[in-house]
């Protein structure tokens, strides 16, 4: 079973890597944000698999935290700051 988890982690790594290419290529900010989202989701998946491979239940908490904060990046990026005159 460990080997299957490892193989799947490799698959997710590949997916992260492809997402990375999109982050680097852009062209727009939106594309980069979207790809960052994919990197985050792949990261969550990998942490879940590692949790099984290395028997580290705490990695589940890490995955949870990443998942909870996944929307913060997009919100921080698209949020419009008020000006002082608003």
């Amino acid at each position: 079973m460990t080997e299957l988890f490892m193989l799947s982690a490799l698959g997710l790594m590949l997916s992260l890597f492809l997402g990375l290419l999109r982050v680097l290529l852009g062209p727009g900010i939106g594309d980069r944000m979207l790809a960052t989202q994919l990197i985050g989701t792949s990261g969550v998946g990998m942490l879940l698999l590692f949790n099984e491979v290395f028997n580290q239940p705490a990695l589940l908490d890490v995955a949870l935290l990443l998942a909870l904060l996944a929307a913060v990046a997009a919100a921080a990026f698209t949020g419009q700051q008020k000006t002082h005159h608003d």
Binding site: M1, L4, F5, S8, G11, L12, L14, S15, L16, L18, G19, L21, R22, G28, I29, G30, D31, M33, L34, A35, Q37, L38, T41, S42, V44, G45, L48, L49, N51, E52, P57, L60, D61, A63, L64, A67, L68, A70, A71, A73, A74, A75, F77, T78
Partner: protein, 94 residues
């Protein structure tokens, strides 16, 4: 039996992940990428989580896994919305 089922689920999940990222790379414009990606990675993560959950007997862990999935679902829907809105705003030039 459980092992086989969870293997199938996890591999399917990885397949959807890969499909999503290839879509992200190959599709021509932001909106189509947006649609492809949000569907693929939610489904991928969902299947993966189902596979991992089958391996654990602990109810607390299963609940946590469910929470992970739900929050990724919500987050990805929200960010897709925010990104699309931002892109539209830039196109209309306001």
């Amino acid at each position: 039996m459980i092992n086989i089922l969870s293997s199938i689920l996890i591999l399917a999940g990885v397949f959807f992940y890969l499909a999503g990222s290839i879509g992200l790379l190959r599709l021509p414009d932001l909106y189509s990428r947006l649609h492809a990606l949000t569907k693929a990675d939610n489904l991928g993560l969902g299947l993966l989580i189902a596979g991992v959950a089958l391996q654990s007997q602990d109810l607390l862990i299963m609940l946590k896994l469910l929470l992970v999935w739900l929050s990724v679902l919500a987050a990805s829907a929200t960010s897709a919305h925010l990104i699309a809105r931002q892109a539209r705003r830039q196109e209309t030039g306001s």
